[in-house]
Subunit: 357 residues, 3 copies
């Protein structure tokens, strides 16, 4: 698959990455592939120490490795680019080798744009888009086909909205945001007064605000606040099918993995990681740097830097110990039964002693 | 954010809510805000006893409070509206203060409408909608942009369908239903005959029927029945990313929170609450009034009124006790080991006793 | 609901199913209904031994039953069709009785089709579709309304794409695939380099490849690979709201039930079943024939044929035993406390013995 759209030599690439080039600097890289399938024309990469062994048998013509990988002196046939952080360097390689194609700019004749909109330079509005009134699109904003942008939305420069996205009214996003197909931003929060009888809807009059460099995955949903703002901080990345409830505040640089969910009015600090299918209950705080394991449920305020797991979530070490213990629980029950039997025997003995005493 | 679109005086609002007005009835309310951010021109609210303390320090010019909140006599500077149920009253405040804007009615010229459709008075069909044959839209039904309505669908009066929704053929909904963007109603149930070889699709020929006042959240999916009807009862509210399988029957006034899922042929009574990410297995009954805690999995028929938690779900008190015990399980294992050691010592002692006896 | 679009006699149907007809072969079947609601003109069915009792009281005029059901000799009034596999036979009945209506073919005038596309015979492209460049649609492919097909996609013959689906660039699917509304295939994988500072996006340059007879449910999302291919094997059926991460490889004939999720780079064998809301962690293998219970989380490589449950997933028998034990855990703690008390008494006794000794 990953044949470079633009070939590069080992030396050029090494320079671009600020790395050390070992081997033939003129070697031409034609593709970027995983260790197992890379061939003589390909660059592969070792972004994780656990792949060092596989690197020794790869057919790749060139390898991107970390300084401390120990592979420099492993006598490999491949040309090498040695860098501090090969994961970050790989991101750069793919940017260089697979440049984004130029898209047409302008408003497609089938797009419907409301009154009072402001369009930056080189914006593009795809076919069958429906853009409301008083919308602001920053420079180079791209709306794919069939995007719906509600009244009063503001999209920062270089943001890209994929086909089929719906932004309800008054969504604000910063620069370089990416919203994938099927995502819905600004939908009604799930708020009802239900003390008596059937639930009565509480009108949701707030909005959603995304910072810069936020990415929202396919078919995710972010509800607008009841009164104020649902906020996603700059640099936060949201995977597919993630639910963010109304009034939620997510800090900067967080990673919300697939099918994670955050209930209404929860507040997340910066660099929080929710692994896949994790959940955060409403009206609580998750401190900066907290990592929540897959499938876990945060049901109470969690101190910064904690790594938690389980339902309800607890420190991961505790959860692991408890899980080990749970696996031994049927055996433990047998052992307790045995102790009880021994106890009964003794009681009988001591009764007999007493009798015979 | 929440500046009123239509200002109201304290007295007007109190009258509209059937409340008791304490303070300057002529005070003009300009916004509705949470306690922490409300200012001198704003109304705030105390819908929950746990916010009573915060109410004592708010800068809000006016407060909506409950009769039994004890705040009447707290010497607050704010004007007061005293009501029985401030949550319900807040719902009314937002209706009054943020009236829905009048939308254009009529069929947008880009909408495609099939044969034999019946349109009620003041319906609106947005741009790029595709409406099939023999569809009935009740009075004042609103279809946002890019809505797909399959053949033979019937939508009751005052229902609102947001952009991008897809209704498959023969979906029926009552009055005042709301369906949010990205929701899909009437898709094929997940039914396969798979005794041998690859799964063989079983054609799904039923339909979906929603009662009155049903709300379906963004990107939720409700499958049609294999033969008969998947039913969502009147007044039931469904949050975002919820899955409802084929043949499911949900009663009235239920709340299905974000990412909850109901497997095929399950039957829920009235006023059932599924908290976030909860699941209900197929072919079982969940009695009226049952509440299922977040992340829990109902794997068997559950009696009316139960509050359950866990995987599999059990009475929540049991689950809590078991969770407390699980946290102490590693310690329990040490204690049992200690008892066993004591036992071994005794056995040795009594062996020795026997030897020396 | 399920009145046959095409009536059939008992004899005709029995012949078509290769079954044995018992009773009046000329009996005209007008509907197909579940046991509880079927009437004198309807065929009902017993696909599961647990419905044998209900079959004895049904009002159905005809019944589809299994050879080994014991119902042949039960003296029922209904006409009978006796087959080896009534579930599979039911699939055939519904195909015969509810034939798909003929849809119009051709490209709707509002559809936008790019350059260099190849259209097979009798393809249909619905209103407001946007098809990119160099797309190949096989014979009889149907695109519903508002479908987005990215550049370079290839759709095999007889595949059907429902309204609102988005295929990103270069998605390849085999023959007879079905993709339901709201599904997104080929979206960016969730890949970031985040060793230091904010997450840096890693461009995702791979693609998604579906085999033949794959079905993808409403609002599901399948990410494209970082470099190579995300693969869904032939005959695999994916329910609604399922997440498939980048680089995942799913084998043939798998069933991924509602809201299941598979994290990046996981590899599933053939005929794997993920029950509802189950999850599979990244970079691991799930062997052929593995069944994962609802809500469970596979966190490590799992051997073929295992049936697993729990978080983390373990053999289901172990999980069941541990669950039973967990329910008795509070009682166990009391019993251990009692043993300790008895122990303390003994220690006191033996101290006293020692004192008095």
């Amino acid at each position: 698959m990953a044949e470079l759209q633009q070939t590069l030599t080992l030396g050029e690439l090494s320079d671009a990455l600020g790395g050390e080039c070992i081997g033939d600097a003129g070697f031409v890289i034609r593709g970027v592939k995983p260790l197992a399938v890379a061939g003589a024309d390909d660059l592969s990469f070792v972004t994780n120490p656990k792949y060092v062994a596989a690197a020794k048998t790869t057919q790749a013509g060139a390898l991107l490795i970390a300084k401390d990988s120990g592979l420099e002196s492993a006598g490999l046939n491949a040309g090498l680019i040695v860098v501090d952080d090969p994961h970050l360097a790989l991101a750069r390689v793919l940017e260089l080798g697979f440049p984004e194609s130029n898209r047409e700019t302008g408003v497609h004749p089938t797009a419907i744009v409301g009154k009072g909109c402001t369009m930056g330079a080189d914006t593009s509005v795809g076919p069958y888009c429906v853009v409301g009134d008083d919308v602001v699109l920053g420079d180079r904003v791209r709306l794919g086909a069939r995007v719906n942008v509600g009244d009063g939305c503001v999209l920062g420069a270089d943001s890209a909205i994929y086909p089929g996205v719906v932004l309800y009214d008054r969504v604000v996003m910063g620069q370089r945001c990416v919203v994938h197909s099927g995502a819905v931003i600004g939908s009604d929060g799930f708020g009802y007064a239900s003390a008596t009888g059937l639930p009565t809807k509480i009108r949701q009059v707030g909005r959603v605000v995304l910072g810069d460099d936020v990415e929202v995955g396919a078919n995710s949903a972010i509800d607008r606040a009841m009164l104020e703002e649902t906020v996603i901080g700059s640099g936060t990345k949201i995977d597919n099918l993630v639910q963010v409830g109304h009034n939620v505040v997510v800090g900067e640089g967080c990673l919300l993995c697939g099918q994670a969910g955050i209930a209404g009015s929860a507040v997340l600090g910066d660099r929080v990681v929710l692994a896949g299918q994790a959940g955060v209950s409403g009206h609580l705080e998750v401190g900066s740097g907290v990592q929540v394991a897959a499938k876990s449920a945060v049901l109470q305020t969690t101190t910064p830097g904690s790594i938690v797991a389980g339902i309800p979530a607890r420190p991961i070490r505790d959860w692991q110990r408890q899980d080990v213990a749970t696996k031994r629980l049927p055996e433990l029950m047998r052992r307790v039964r045995q102790l009880e039997r021994a106890q009964e025997v003794k009681d009988v003995d001591s009764d007999q002693d007493a009798d015979s005493g």
